[in-house]
Amino acid sequence: MTPQLAIFFVLAALAVLGALNLIIQRHPIHSALSLIVVMIALAGLYLLMGSEFVAAVQIIVYGGAIMVLFVFVIMLLNAGVEERTNVSKLAGVAGIPLAVALLGFLAAAIARSNESAQAGVEAGTLANTKEISTMLFKDFVYPFELTSFLILVAILGAIVLAQREKS
């Protein structure tokens, strides 16, 4: 087993265990912390693939900004342990089989695409930050400008939603 493969398995196990812990934990703050573990493990996987820019963005934006927002809202609302209500009958009966079926379909689709299975991912082959920036500001410049508009709308929406109604 090459060292790369060993690192992959360690990080993959970390990500899957974090995701499982997100489901098992009843308190939202514990779920949030295990989601941070998943995101850090995914950033390590991006580094392993040689896409250092995506890894940095993953840690800064996901691990930093978005999860801080989540933890902040959990503290603001003083969210306690999830209360058990009787799960809706449809979700209780069909939930797990449907999720397993979805996973089966995805696995079948992956297994059938032998083209992708043969080519492996080598670390640091190409697609470094310079190439991504050239592509982002040349080929994808209009979508990039549109995202700034999207963020503006999101800021306005968050302000309008969260302000107290004047009475």
């Binding site: 995701a19 998943v38 693939m49 995506v54 934006v61 209500t85 809706s88 190439e131 592509m135």
Partner: protein
């Protein structure tokens, strides 16, 4: 050298776990976190394909997905705060404004 299919299988497993969390959790904040988990799984598949096919498009797309996820988190958490203020509960079973 790690086969691309390993990354894709990991991505599928994470997506499936996100779906399970989305269906079974009752707390609206945790449900929102499971959506972020699914987005992360998709990002992993994007980067794996991008590196396997030696094209940078996938990583640019990941950037856009992260931007959309950040905007979604801002608006969604605003909605959650509003919901908690109106219902004094974070349980999705108690949010039935639209139910007849």
């Amino acid at each position: 050298m790690v086969p691309t299919s390993y990354y894709l299988i990991l991505s599928a497993v994470l997506f499936g776990l996100g779906v399970v969390a989305f269906v079974f959790k009752r707390n609206v904040i945790t449900i929102f976190m499971s959506i972020e988990l699914m987005l992360n799984a998709v990002n992993l598949a994007f980067v794996a394909f991008s590196q396997a096919r030696h094209q940078s498009d996938g990583q640019v797309f990941v950037l856009f997905v992260i931007v959309v996820a950040a905007a979604e988190a801002a608006v969604g958490l605003g909605i959650i705060i509003l919901m908690a203020r109106n219902r004094q509960s974070l349980n999705v079973e108690r949010v039935d404004f639209l139910k007849l």
